[in-house]
């Protein structure tokens, strides 16, 4: 583990048991996340991209210890504490909950309609007993609300009185009130309109820099990730297929899946020609994974070795890794 790493995953797998299989045989599992290794540097905005079913949410939750880690090690070290997530006491877990937080996708579902905004934001402080008096709680609620551009008037109201963008700012305030070190934002702008989305993205970036937070930003939208993240990891079928600093990934994508994903984004230019090949087919069923490289069923460049052996991540450049047998030939 490098010194400036806040949280790292080493060969992390998350398997869920499913029904079926033989009576006495091994219980079949869905491998939602398989052998993922990544390091998130302190103070960085780390993007995790993939389509539905790629395991990005499960990986994010495993790093919060909100999903069971089947194999591998997740290590959290913020300079004050050093935890291995799969092996911690309940006291340590409680402490970890104050240091890590999650911002959800849907601001309409995430806020209780029967609590005032003040109570919603104050709840984490009260549950985690982080403040000693009501005055202190109120002061911290007001501070974080101001950072999230909510005014005192807003704190007395109920969530129904707010628009989508405002609600997402309330969710952000609630996640950040306990002053966490590590925040997972799971599709946090996906439900918002474009004109509002930009506002929330700018706010996240501002607060991240101001409070020195480390973000894991999960999204299916590559153009959003390109604008806000410094480092990006691309997932497919529970595996990391490519990781790189943002610019490097967008200027020099090496994995055929990353290339296809980039070319599939509809351009604003009606005359734009998509040079890269369009992908056929869909992500395979998780109960019936293909042998070899998991992308081979859709990859236009798949050859025998791809159908036989699963590629491992290898270094392409500085901090740029790709899991593909043929990346060099395809450059």
């Amino acid at each position: 583990m490098k010194r400036d790493t806040l949280i790292s995953a080493n060969n992390v797998s998350v398997h869920y048991p499913i029904n079926g299989g033989k009576l006495l045989g091994p219980k079949p599992v869905v491998r939602a996340v398989e052998n993922v290794t990544l390091n998130i540097t302190k103070g960085s905005f780390f993007g995790l991209v993939g389509e539905s079913g790629s395991g990005k949410t499960t990986l994010g939750r495993a790093m919060l210890k909100a999903a069971p880690i089947t194999n591998g090690i997740v290590n959290f070290n913020d300079g004050e504490v050093n935890y291995s997530l799969s092996n911690m006491s309940s006291k340590e877990l409680k402490d970890y909950r104050t240091r890590s937080q999650l911002i959800f996708q849907d601001p309409y579902a995430a806020l209780s309609p029967r609590m005032t905004v003040r109570d919603i934001i104050a709840e984490p402080l009260e549950i985690m007993k982080l403040t000693s008096s009501r005055e202190e709680t109120d002061r911290r609620v007001r501070e974080i609300a101001a950072k999230c551009r909510l005014n005192l008037e807003h704190l007395r109201r109920f969530p129904h009185a707010f628009s989508g963008g405002q609600r997402q700012r309330i969710s952000i305030a609630r996640a950040l009130v306990s002053e966490p070190k590590f925040v997972v934002a799971d599709e946090s702008v996906a439900a918002l309109d474009v004109s509002i989305q930009a506002d929330v993205l700018n706010l996240l970036k501002e607060i991240q820099q101001e409070m020195g937070l480390t973000f894991l930003f999960i999204s299916h939208d590559l153009s959003v990730v390109a604008h806000i993240c410094d480092h990006v990891a691309v997932m497919y079928f529970g595996r990391l297929v490519e990781t790189a600093p943002t610019r490097e990934l967008f200027n020099n994508p090496c994995h055929p899946y990353t290339k296809a994903l980039l070319s599939a984004i509809p351009s604003l230019d009606p005359d734009a020609k998509n040079l890269a090949q369009k992908l056929e087919g869909e992500i395979p069923s998780p109960t019936n994974p293909p042998p070899g490289c998991k992308f081979q069923t859709r990859c236009p460049h798949a050859i025998d070795i791809c159908r036989r052996d699963e590629p491992q991540l290898e270094s392409v450049g500085v901090e740029h890794n790709v899991a593909c047998h043929r990346w060099q030939e395809l450059m």
């Binding site: 474009v194 004109s195 930009a198």
Partner: protein, 333 residues
């Protein structure tokens, strides 16, 4: 090309418990056969309500304006949609001359009836086909939209298909009655980008083959740029800018359209900052007077904008914008 659809002065109010709200306000547009028209706007802009009005599919508390005129030109003469009253009369357009595909294909298929039975049912209602012929046509349509092993899929239920496949089946179902007009309400929003690209290609092919018109509703300007021929940008129930897609996206002229494009994260320019449009979309109960965008506009001119509804001014041939900035220019020259 022949004119397929004419919408004039479409105004639509809803009577609600909280009062009367205006969902669509004086919207006019037209569509040629074989053309895709994009209807873009954010949530609450009235784009879905506008599309549903084409089949009078809005809830019973909808009140259409007196001057509203929607006419659909079919082979045997124009149909005045506003004059259709009974369910029987409306069946000419609903599922017949006009088909609709929705955003969430899982919610649009009945979960306990096979895909095939649902496709056959509508053919029996809208055409004079026999059940056997209807089955043949349905399987052929499933094939046509790129569903492999169509005769097996025909017997399956919606939950057995993946998201992309369900949307293809939805398109097959919508097209099997051979409609003249297809309304697609956010058909790719729930899909992954790689699947979205497949569905967009499919829809472009189908327009060519079937020669129908499509009203394509989306919030995604990129999708519009890749699919539509013309586009109308809606905000709070009004069209603020319309014209050929190249001109509207290449030379956005209404401050709202400009704002939308600036707020969009773009891959071709990672350095440009994201500029949000300030403020929130006002509640439909508090629609601003004058120009509906005046409360958030960066180029607000004063009493004119907050008092007077701007008229459409041509920027170039066919490219129209409803904004006082351009009306002033015209008066000046």
């Amino acid at each position: 090309m022949t004119r397929l659809l004419d919408v004039e002065n479409l105004t639509l109010d809803f009577d609600t418990d909280e009062g009367r709200i205006t969902a669509v306000d004086d919207v006019s547009f037209s569509l040629e056969a074989g053309e895709i028209m994009g209807l873009v706007g954010e949530s609450g802009s009235g784009k879905s309500v506008t599309a549903k009005a084409l089949m009078k599919l809005n809830a019973s508390n909808a009140i259409y304006g007196q001057n509203t005129k929607i006419s659909l030109n079919l082979a045997d003469g124009p149909v005045d949609i506003m004059s259709l009253r009974t369910a029987q009369e409306l069946q000419i357009v609903r599922g017949g001359a006009i088909s609709m595909i929705f955003q969430e294909p899982m919610a649009s298929f009945a979960p306990a009836i096979t895909i095939g039975a649902q496709m056959v049912e509508q053919l029996l209602i809208h055409t004079s086909m026999s059940a056997l012929k209807a089955q043949e046509v349905s399987i052929e349509m499933l094939n046509r939209v790129g569903i492999s092993d169509a005769s097996t899929r025909f017997k399956q239920y919606a939950f057995e298909l993946s998201g992309g496949m369900r949307q293809r089946a939805m398109i097959a179902m919508a097209l099997s009655t051979n409609p003249k007009l297809l309304i697609a309400d956010e058909p790719t929003t729930a899909l992954d980008v790689t699947i979205q690209a497949q569905v967009i290609d499919l829809m472009k092919d189908l327009v060519k083959d079937f020669g129908m018109g499509i009203v394509f509703i989306t919030h995604d300007l990129g999708v519009i740029a890749q699919t539509a021929d013309t586009v109308a940008v809606m905000y709070l129930g009004r069209v603020v800018e319309k014209g050929p897609v190249r001109q509207v996206i290449g030379n956005p002229s209404h401050p709202y359209t400009q704002g939308l494009i600036k707020a969009l994260p773009r891959l071709d320019d990672l350095d440009s900052p994201l500029t949000p449009i300030p403020g929130d979309i006002p509640s439909p109960l508090e629609r601003p007077n004058g120009c509906v965008f005046n409360t958030r506009c960066s180029q607000f001119l004063g009493s004119q904008c907050s008092g007077e509804i701007p008229k459409f001014t041509p920027i170039s041939h066919d490219h129209m914008v409803a904004c006082h900035i351009y009306q002033q220019d015209q008066k000046g020259t």
